[in-house]
């Protein structure tokens, strides 16, 4: 048992680092090689993850709509997404004649790159993080809002009225909901006293913030879920795509692999948002502990930290998927009413409550 526990992601990473330091004497070269390895590892992790999320989404949607979902390709339809990807690979990547070709081809790259950049400060397991930056939460919230530039770029350069409408809606939406996301993140930053992701995780050693922080943290968790669903343009906030109104919104004109990149970015964003929520509110890779039940806590410690992290993340992904397949799409005015009249005032009051709670030390 001890042996299994020793083989963790962090020991693996340390092993690679020590081997590289021993083999190469230039410190700069080691850094570069490690960056390349980290990037490749991220890609190797993300592509199967997106396959799985696509499959999961279709199955969850099917079960919630009393259907079976994909069940032809592979066992229980598990290879359906692989088949779809192969289909997209063989499709022609069409660029419309009247489009702004440079921006048109640049937009999907920007969208994918920004969503991948947000992965950097996420702690996947104990001591296993690509970049433990001291302003982790700020970094996440600022980088994720760059994606709107890619979406606006896609909508504008397509030279298509549906694309432009979708992109403009998306812009209005992300700019407004960014505020609520920021404020709900701030409430955890206040409690943890740090923007660094690893510090926030460590501050939840004796209990996750959602349990320690009473009702205010619960409110900010719910606000974070709602607002981040809006920020990643998922239903019921998918006005940017709105296939019934705008054919496909900002990616109407995209086909083949460029379209697949938007799809990839959508699923990476879903994962990132859930990972952030899991890290900040549900304790990241921290195991679930109950007060003084030492045997229970001991057993919980034996579950690897990566399993804890992925389990929490997928639980939140499931909730966001359930949002999508339960709620009808909001109108534009309802979307803005929800943000400016409800979420923003509530989260502002909530931040004050959390601050008072943190100052008085009322949390556990």
């Amino acid at each position: 048992m001890k042996l299994i526990l020793d083989i963790s992601f962090s020991s693996f990473a340390t092993g690679i680092h020590e081997w590289l330091v021993g083999a190469i004497h230039s410190e700069g070269l080691v850094k570069v090689i490690e960056m390349v390895i980290a990037g490749l590892a991220l890609l190797v992790f993300l592509v199967p993850l997106c396959f799985f999320l696509g499959y999961m989404e279709r199955k969850v949607a099917a079960f919630m709509q009393v259907r079976l979902g994909p069940n032809r390709v592979g066992p229980k339809g598990s290879l359906q997404i692989v088949a779809d990807t192969v289909k997209l690979l063989f499709k022609e990547g069409l660029t419309p004649n009247a489009s702004d070709k440079f921006l048109f081809n640049l937009a999907p790259v920007i969208v994918v790159v920004t969503s991948m950049l947000v992965m950097a400060p996420i702690a996947f397991a104990k001591n296993f993080q690509i970049w433990d930056i001291s302003i982790g939460v700020l970094y996440v919230s600022s980088i994720s809002s760059i994606a709107v530039i890619g979406i606006l770029m896609a909508g504008w350069s397509s030279n298509n009225k549906y694309s432009l409408l979708g992109a403009m809606r998306s812009g209005a939406q992300i700019v407004s909901y960014e505020l609520s996301v920021g404020l709900s993140l701030i409430s955890i930053v206040i409690l943890a006293g740090s923007l660094r992701m690893s510090d926030i995780v460590m501050s939840q050693e004796n209990g996750w913030w959602i349990f320690k922080g009473h009702i205010p943290v619960l409110i900010s968790f719910v606000i974070f879920l709602i607002a981040s669903t809006a920020e990643i343009n998922r239903a019921p906030f998918d006005l940017a795509e709105a296939e019934q109104e705008l054919t496909a919104g900002f990616h109407t004109e995209y086909s083949g692999m460029k379209f697949a990149m938007f799809l990839l970015a959508e699923y990476i964003n879903l994962f990132v948002v859930s990972a952030i929520a899991a890290t900040l509110f549900l304790g990241g890779w921290m195991p679930f502990h109950i007060g003084h039940w030492h045997t229970f806590n001991f057993v919980m410690d034996y579950i690897p930290s990566s399993i804890w992290f992925l389990g929490k993340t997928f639980a939140i992904i499931f909730i966001i998927m359930q949002f999508r397949w339960t709620f009808p799409r909001l109108r534009v005015d309802q979307l803005l009413t929800l943000e400016w009249k409800y979420l923003l005032p509530i989260s502002m009051v909530n931040v004050i409550l959390v601050t008072v709670m943190a100052i008085m030390g009322w949390h556990f």
């Binding site: 009393v66 259907r67 079976l68 359930q322 949002f323 339960t326």
Partner: protein, 156 residues
């Protein structure tokens, strides 16, 4: 103020209600309605009210109930049914109208059920079969009365 919080409360309650329903469907796969058609062909049963095609039931003596009154032909909105009648010699020497061929053009039929409703002697009913695809259009023209069939005793 009361209205503001009331709206929040009501909306959260209704959203949770919706999520409860989808959650129920997600956790109860036995509710799934999908028929895996080509796979369950052996056990597939259609609904009683399913209208697949017009059929004319014959009993074991190869007798049907059609009197050749052509009410179905008149009722049909798109000329799906053509009835060719003949004069049949009765045992008592009288001649009586009877059907020679009951032609049914499946390719024109919209399964509207009007012919079945119009029939005074319940000679035609809607069948359950729905696998009608053929390679030749001519095969869709069907003769519903079986060869050598007669009208049932006592059906006027």
């Amino acid at each position: 103020m009361k209205e503001y919080f009331g709206t929040i409360f009501r909306s959260v309650r209704s959203l949770l209600k919706g999520m409860k329903l989808t959650g129920y469907y997600f956790t109860h796969p036995k509710e799934i309605q999908t028929e895996e058609y080509p796979d369950n062909r052996a056990t597939l049963t259609m609904f009683d009210r399913f209208k697949g095609e017009v059929t004319m039931p014959h009993d074991e003596n190869n007798e049907h109930r059609c009197t050749g009154c052509q009410a179905c032909e008149i009722a049909c909105p798109n000329g799906t049914i053509k009835i060719i009648t003949k004069q049949e010699l009765q045992p008592d020497g009288k001649k009586k109208k009877a059907i020679d061929t009951f032609v049914y053009h499946l390719e024109l039929c919209t399964m509207c059920n009007l012919c079945v409703v119009a029939c005074p002697s319940d000679a035609i009913v809607m069948g359950q079969s729905f696998e009608h695809s053929v390679y030749d259009k001519k095969q869709l023209k069907k003769v519903l009365n079986l060869p050598g069939s007669k009208i049932m005793e006592g059906v006027e």
